[in-house]
């Protein structure tokens, strides 16, 4: 089990994360928050790129800083900005990273072929990455993160820059990978995690706001989310969430604490996007 124990990270007078306590066991954990909320700071601490100012991060009771390479051997990491060598083929690139990860050469070669197959890049394994699309590069990134068969897979905004088709494929892959390991994925794109995350971790004002299953998090807004095609009729405090067109009408989804919500609108089941907008767009109340 990976435990984040009362962790605070400060940079001078600025507190990036304050008193965060979390526990990660097998499954997919989504760190969901807007940009600048501290997701990447936590990810960087989990990958030992930076250290907590206060508190500790433990793997099975041992501090990860003390575990040093023993810990690093157990993690797979896909950074937010995944760099690569444009003139290398995926196979060459993965061989180099396998060496840095201390993998046996023969085993690494076998694993590289297997992983390129898994991420559907087997056909282009010997082609230079110069002409690869963002999605293909991201898949190379996933492959490198899986090279050491990590117990903990850490992905920082992995779907940024992917087209919808690639995003779905990526989601399915991550979902299957989370069956036998800890997968920690940071994102601000709700649809990436809504259906696959076992647990959603949310931050607000650099503090932990929620750590629960998507269903339980959505339950917070139960009875407060409605849809209407006449938003002008609402004369009580509400927050507009999303809009969509249906049969020539604009259907507006809104949240309100008022009991009159049901008089104007039709109650709907809240989803994670509603919760996200509700929590992070306080200023939108009118």
């Amino acid at each position: 089990m990976l435990t984040v124990n009362h962790v605070t990270k400060t940079y001078g007078n600025f507190t990036a994360l304050e008193d965060i306590t979390l526990e990660f066991s097998q499954g997919l954990y989504a760190l969901l928050a807007p940009n600048g909320a501290g997701k990447t700071t936590l990810i960087k601490m989990l990958t030992t790129l930076i250290f907590p100012t206060r508190g500790e991060i433990l793997l099975d009771g041992d501090e990860i800083i003390a575990l040093d390479e023993t810990y690093r051997e157990k993690i797979g990491y896909l950074p937010q900005e995944f760099g690569y060598y444009k003139n290398h083929s995926p196979r060459q690139f993965l061989s180099y990273l396998a060496a840095l990860k201390g993998l046996d050469k023969r085993e690494a070669a076998r694993k590289t072929d297997e992983l390129l197959e898994l991420v559907s890049l087997a056909d282009v394994r010997d082609k230079k990455m110069r002409k690869f699309s963002g999605g293909m590069i991201q898949r190379v990134g996933i492959a490198q993160a899986l090279q050491n068969d990590p117990r903990i897979l850490i992905l920082d905004e992995p779907t940024a820059g992917l087209d919808p088709k690639e995003r779905v494929r990526f989601r399915n892959l991550i979902s299957s990978l989370s069956k036998n390991r800890i997968v920690i994925m940071s994102t601000h794109i709700v649809s990436d995690i809504e259906t696959v995350a076992n647990q959603v971790v949310m931050f607000k004002d650099h503090k932990l706001l929620a750590n629960n299953t998507p269903a339980k998090i959505c339950k917070q807004l139960e009875g407060k989310v409605f849809e209407t095609d006449d938003i002008t009729a609402i004369d009580f405090a509400h927050m507009q969430l999303t809009e969509r067109n249906e049969d020539g009408h604009t259907i507006v989804r809104f949240a309100t604490d008022s009991a009159r919500g049901a008089e104007i609108g039709r109650p709907v089941t809240p989803n994670l996007e509603d919760v996200f907008l509700y929590i992070y767009r306080d200023e939108a109340w009118i």
């Binding site: 400060t10 940079y11 001078g12 990958t47 030992t48 790129l49 930076i50 250290f51 100012t53 800083i65 003390a66 040093d68 390479e69 690093r72 051997e73 993690i75 990491y77 950074p79 900005e81 995944f82 760099g83 690569y84 060598y85 180099y96 990273l97 060496a99 840095l100 990860k101 201390g102 490198q144 050491n148």
Partner: protein, 248 residues
């Protein structure tokens, strides 16, 4: 005699014993063992990956040094040797590090089993050995006699290791990613200023330093330099600003 009130099944006992052995019998990692592991696992090619730019800079530096030697009056050989001795090391090391830190893979490389910090430690040691070979060549080229060589070589080596130590010391402590470059600039200023201002007097001062003292300086600075490399390779928390990890 007291007995412990612990009831363990044979299987649990085995597990406990294994856990104790795992913790107790781990050989402490030395710099030598680490570098041996690095060489065996990564090989020279992976260890010096991304060093092409450094090689180019080293070649240009060598050409510059040859030019300087061609135009420098031979009567200032000691001052020239002392200043030039660490230049190849500095140029190679700093260009290699700069290229690495500015590279897009830097962050990822810091999370691998063999971190870029450990690889950097290996490279620094290698570049310093190349620096030693350079010093031998440089002094052999400049020396007019064996006595002159005996005076020049320890001075050049002390210059190399003092500068290398200073460079690594700064790089590990200053909260600036390119702190090592400052070390190079400071070295050039420190050694060139007396040469420019005092001229022959600086040469006389250097010639009056006993050879034994320069040998001792070389040994001590080389030992301290090795200690800095060890810290670079193994330090987990403090003094690692330039190599990516910090508490603040």
């Amino acid at each position: 005699m007291s007995t412990l009130n612990v009831n363990l099944t044979p299987q649990e006992k085995e597990q406990e014993i294994s856990a104790i052995l795992d913790r107790g019998l781990v050989r402490p990692k030395t710099l030598r063992r680490l570098f041996k592991d690095l060489l065996c696992s990564l090989g020279l090619r992976a260890l010096f990956w991304d060093c092409g730019f450094a090689l180019l800079v080293a070649t240009v530096t060598l050409a510059g040094i040859v030019f300087l030697l061609a135009v420098t009056p031979i009567e200032r050989s000691l001052a020239t040797t002392f200043t030039l001795a660490p230049l190849l090391f500095l140029a190679t090391q700093l260009s290699c590090e700069t290229a690495e830190r500015l590279g897009e893979l830097y962050e990822l490389k810091r999370t691998c089993k063999y971190t870029i910090r450990q690889i950097t430690a290996f490279r620094v040691l290698t570049f310093s050995l190349v620096g030693v070979i350079f010093c031998v060549g440089l002094t052999a080229f400049i020396a007019e006699s064996t006595t002159h060589l005996v005076q020049l070589l320890p001075l050049a080596l002390s210059g190399l290791f003092l500068c290398a130590l200073f460079s690594l010391f700064l790089a590990r402590r200053l909260p600036h990613t390119l702190a090592g470059i400052w070390a190079g600039a400071i070295w050039i200023v420190i050694t060139l200023t007396p040469l420019m201002i005092a001229g022959p007097q600086w040469e006389i001062l250097l010639s009056n330093i006993p050879v034994l003292l320069t040998i001792c300086t070389t040994i001590v600075s080389a030992a301290l330099f090795l200690r800095e490399i060890t810290k670079l390779a193994f330090d987990k928390e403090d003094h690692t600003y330039a190599y990516g990890q910090s508490r603040n």
